[in-house]
């Protein structure tokens, strides 16, 4: 296990380098207005700066490969560069906003688990009954509803009907738990419900697949109770594909946080990326994307380790 972990962690390094190359290359391809913007910004502050000076300031006067290695080297030292327009370092912006995005993602993930696993198991235990059909249809409908549409309705109607509104200023969870939850619970519930649609169906399908196995038949035949067969025989074995699914959904969750954060005005990294891309703030957008990618990489690692934990047959070599 330890050996495997070391190997996986070492393999993260080339992947990280490749991710950085991809992100860097993509960012360079965005039509370059940054220089103009810097010149314009200085001009509005009453300072005059030539294009060449601005390019030198941004480090754009060097060849692209050199730029990459400068950026990558600085990144390894924890310096992601300076924001073009905010006067902050990229890292300080990310450090302030990362916990917010993480909290949202974690809450969404947990809620999605809490919703989809019991319901999926219930459907698997009672296949082809009316309740199963209703739940399945509903879950497809949920998965078909755009999250931004549900979010809009959730933002508007409760506010009008019951005067319920989501706080607009962020308070950290340690400062004021209730206020923080008031802000995060609704967005993460919206995200969780829409992703639960797909997860319920997956949990059901995977569990049913397992329930066709001989050992489950043995379980029923030896007279084991419903709960024992469902959890001990069926669900534990269905966990592997389910973990793959949930692990895979984390990347989608991160992508979804872009929409959720923009809609509910949560000052997380997802919102920051959109603003940065709109402003052509390359260092910031670059930094945020890399942070997201690292997050997804770590989740993938956790998923692989979780395989081992729930199925001793899986060999990790």
């Amino acid at each position: 296990m330890g050996k495997y972990l070391v190997k996986r962690l070492l393999l993260l390094i080339p992947t990280l380098i490749l991710v950085c190359v991809i992100v860097f290359a993509l960012m360079r391809m965005i039509p370059g207005d940054a220089v103009d913007m810097v010149v314009y910004n200085y001009a509005t502050n009453g300072q005059v700066i030539t294009r060449a000076e601005a390019e030198a300031k941004l480090g754009l006067d060097k060849p692209a490969v050199t730029q990459f290695f400068i950026w990558f080297g600085n990144m390894l030292r924890g310096d992601l560069g300076n924001c073009l327009f905010r006067g902050d370092t990229v890292w300080s912006v990310i450090r302030a906003q990362l916990p917010i995005s993480l909290e949202l993602a974690l809450l969404t993930f947990l809620l999605s688990l809490v919703i989809s696993i019991p319901i999926g198991l219930y459907c698997a235990a009672h296949p082809d009954t009316i309740s199963d059909g209703v739940i399945r249809t509903l879950s497809v409908v949920l998965a078909s509803m755009p999250v931004f549409w549900i979010g809009t309705m959730v933002l508007v109607y409760p506010a009008v009907w019951w005067g319920f509104s989501i706080p607009l200023t962020y308070v950290s969870i340690t400062q004021n738990f209730a206020q923080n939850m008031r802000m995060f619970l609704v967005p993460s519930l919206v995200a969780a419900v829409t992703s639960a649609g797909m997860n319920i169906r997956a949990v059901r399908t995977m569990t049913l697949e397992v329930m066709r196995q001989d050992y489950v038949r043995t379980g029923w035949a030896k007279g084991a109770g419903e709960g024992r067969v469902m959890f001990h025989h069926a669900f534990r074995n269905a966990l592997i594909p389910v973990i793959t699914l949930f692990g895979g959904s984390v990347a989608g969750l991160v992508g979804g946080s872009v929409v959720i954060e923009n809609m509910f005005n949560i000052p997380g990294i997802g919102q920051q990326v959109v603003t940065a891309l709109n402003n052509r703030d390359y260092p910031l957008a670059q930094g945020c994307t890399v942070v997201f990618a690292v997050f997804v990489m770590l989740i993938n690692l956790v998923v692989d380790i979780a395989y081992k934990w729930c199925d001793p047959r899986v060999s990790l070599e």
């Binding site: 490749l18 039509p31 497809v140 809009t152």
Partner: protein, 323 residues
Amino acid sequence: MKNTEKRRRKNAFLDFLGTLWRTKKVAFFGLLVLVLFILVAIFADVIAPQKMENGLLASHLMDAAKPPSLEHPLGTDAMGRDLLSYMIYGARTSVILGISCTILSTVISVIIGVTSAVIGGRFDLYLQRFIDAWQCIPGMLIMLILMSIMGPGMVSMVVVLSVPGGIGGSRMIRSAAISVKDSGYCGMSKMLGGKNVWRMIHHVIPNIMPLVLMNLANSLGGTIMMESTLNFLGFGVNINTPSWGYLLTSQGRSKMYTAPWIGLAPGLAITIMVFAAAMFGDGVRDILDPRLKGGMGSFSRKKIRRIAAKYRSRKKAAEGTNG
């Protein structure tokens, strides 16, 4: 010869429709809804009450945000355009993007997956490492970055929606292609001197076709959803092109209370279209991949209990005669 070939193909398609109708009524219904959307998109100019002029729906600010009436069956939007017409033209955007991106992304998946599997070796290894890294960057972010590179518009949306999906989907195609490649007939073809390209076209691709079709049918819903999400975030088609996602973000949100029809119509339309696509995709998958069929088959709990009871009583009876 050519004629019989053609007839056989047509029959295969009709057969498929027949199977869909007989075994998967809901999926057939989903297909019908999709066809309806496609027809609406094709004949948008004929059925829309307010016609598009020079690629624009004229706004009549006097009629802004009117509730549904006989004249405007769905009401008007905040710029006084007939909402029904806007929705019909929006269907055109969604249908064009949905279908072209689904096809293009599947084609990209097949090209990447099959070449990677058939060529193998170093090429496969490096390509897969690249895809590993690519997969680590959330798709939504890649799409936003690509949209920033290419600028708004239909063409860039087609590229942006299909390239990341195509790269992601190539994984599944590759693993299927590898199992075909390792099979006897492919080895035989290689032994007889078949080139890589020959084997790809004549052996690998025909044999993974069910998976490809499944992939095609399954990714349609997601593509439409993604398209409307990008439009919602403002990284989509030109603002003059009617689009459901953009209508929601530009007007639906702010008018949700005072003029709910503006926000409800596009959301409902997206939901119905994605739902129909999902239903159709599920049906296609069930037909093409019998492994995935739900239900407990012969192992239903009641049946097993019954067999177990019978076995026990028989055993008891046997013990009775013995003792």
